[in-house]
């Protein structure tokens, strides 16, 4: 930090007075970090593209996966993510305003804008947590075939997806979750789905207006819906009921989609979280007057660079996960 607070006394080149490319030491290092982090994220997104190209015809359609908005019921593709994007851009703006106020040595305005930035970041991370929760919980439920493919259920007339809870038949069964205390002691299984495959299949048979929708995308960019006969035949190969998504099963389709969703948005969310923590540290430094004493608010600029980078990454994640 010595080099950034030079107060005019002459230092020689070896003492750090020389600034390559007109950038101070700290700023240059922040750019080094940002560049390497950008390459990490690019690696993730390229890996996502690789897997997506591999399963081009069966990849889930984001518009049909992320359709929820908090406090509202219904089908709202994209709206909430758009809101999140806007929040993050907004907090980027308050950050850049804080940097600008820092250049003018206006301490109170820096404090105010930093505060707004932190609030924006918290709203964003909260929204992401909610989005994760919704994704993990799932919306309609589906069955998985022996080959690991997902079969969803749609209404024959409207074409809308139908939740398995709406048609599955209650059949009394002896089957209970296998825990250590009631079965083999050295192994156990997770929570059982609410319905068994048999219950779903029986319910499907007695509701003649239901059809099965497969993962395959047809030439119009929609998921293929099977005829009633094909649906009944296909349902025979079902091996388990899937509700929601985790790293192993995903009711929305390809499990890799869920894996990449958790990994990439999780890694980005972690960046936002650490950005908030760093912002809070700098925020208190500004309040106690550290940078006022240094006569330089460059630290705000450096943390700002990181914060904008997080925003920049989100722009790409938004495009490749939700739009394309």
């Amino acid at each position: 930090m010595d080099t950034t607070v030079t107060t005019g006394e002459k230092q020689n080149v070896w003492g750090g007075a020389n600034q390559p490319l007109d950038a101070s030491y700290g700023k240059m290092m922040m750019w080094f970090f940002i560049l390497s982090d950008a390459l990490t994220f690019s690696g993730f997104l390229c890996a996502y593209g690789f897997s997506r190209f591999k399963f081009m015809e069966t990849w889930p359609i984001a518009d049909e996966v992320f359709t929820h908005v908090p406090f509202f019921h219904g089908n709202f593709p994209m709206y909430y993510v758009a809101f999140m994007t806007f929040i993050l851009i907004m907090s980027s703006v308050t950050m850049v305003l804080a940097v600008d106020a820092g250049h003018k040595m206006q301490k109170n305005r820096v404090i105010w804008y930093m505060f707004m930035t932190i609030i924006g970041g918290i709203i964003f991370v909260g929204s992401q947590a909610w989005e994760w929760g919704t994704f993990i919980k799932g919306s309609y439920g589906a069955v998985e075939t022996k080959g690991g493919r997902i079969l969803q259920f749609v209404d024959a007339e409207s074409g809308h997806q139908v939740a398995i809870a709406d048609f599955a038949k209650e059949i009394a069964s002896e089957r209970t979750a296998h825990e250590r205390k009631n079965g083999i002691w050295f192994t156990k299984e997770g929570t059982l789905p609410t319905y068994t495959v048999n219950e779903v299949a029986e319910g499907f048979k007695s509701n003649s207006n239901l059809l099965v929708r497969t993962e395959t995308i047809n030439e119009h960019g929609h998921k293929t819906v099977l005829s009633r006969e094909e649906s009944l035949k296909k349902l025979m190969s079902a091996s388990q009921v899937v509700e929601g998504a985790n790293l192993i099963h995903n009711e929305y389709g390809s499990r890799l989609f869920a894996d990449f969703f958790f990994f990439i948005t999780g890694f980005h969310g972690f960046h936002v979280f650490s950005g908030i923590v760093i912002n809070i540290v700098i925020f208190f430094n500004v309040i106690v007057g550290t940078y006022e004493k240094r006569r330089s608010y460059e630290m705000v600029e450096k943390v700002g660079l990181y914060w904008h980078f997080v925003d920049l990454v989100w722009v790409f994640v938004f495009t490749f996960f939700y739009l394309v």
Binding site: S51, R52, P77, L97, D100, G221, G304, H308, L312
Partner: protein, 127 residues
């Protein structure tokens, strides 16, 4: 502030009186682009989805180009790259562009190849 701040965007088409004015101007521009993206994402106009241009739907090309435009203004105006030394800017920008283009090319070609293998190979994957 050691550096002078450049206050015009769109290659000088729009010039702001102050840095703060420029920030708000860029925000409005970024919001408009995001709004266009979201609107296109919800409507998905048929003529942009049903054809293929350079191996991808035109809509996806539009999304990627708009994303790069957004990235440009975030880096140039929010991250102050516009005010930095020219060669600092170039080393920051061209390094990832070169590496990412290379990686994306390799991985997408490979993914496409595996897709073909799954499709025409003798193994049955969906049973």
């Amino acid at each position: 502030m050691a550096h002078e701040q450049k206050l015009e965007i769109f290659r000088g088409l729009l010039k702001f009186k102050s840095n703060v004015g420029k920030i708000w101007g860029v925000l409005i521009f970024l919001s408009i682009i995001t709004a266009i993206e979201v609107a296109l994402g919800i409507v998905r106009p048929a003529f942009l989805v049903d054809s293929i241009v350079l191996g991808m739907k035109p809509l996806n090309w539009i999304f990627i180009i708009l994303t790069l435009v957004k990235a440009y203004y975030i880096a140039w105006d929010f991250m102050h790259l516009r005010d930095e030394n020219k060669f600092l800017r170039r080393s920051i920008v061209w390094t990832p562009i070169f590496l990412v283009l290379y990686l994306a090319f390799i991985l997408l070609v490979e993914g496409n190849y595996i897709h073909e293998v799954y499709k025409v190979g003798f193994m049955k994957w969906n049973f």
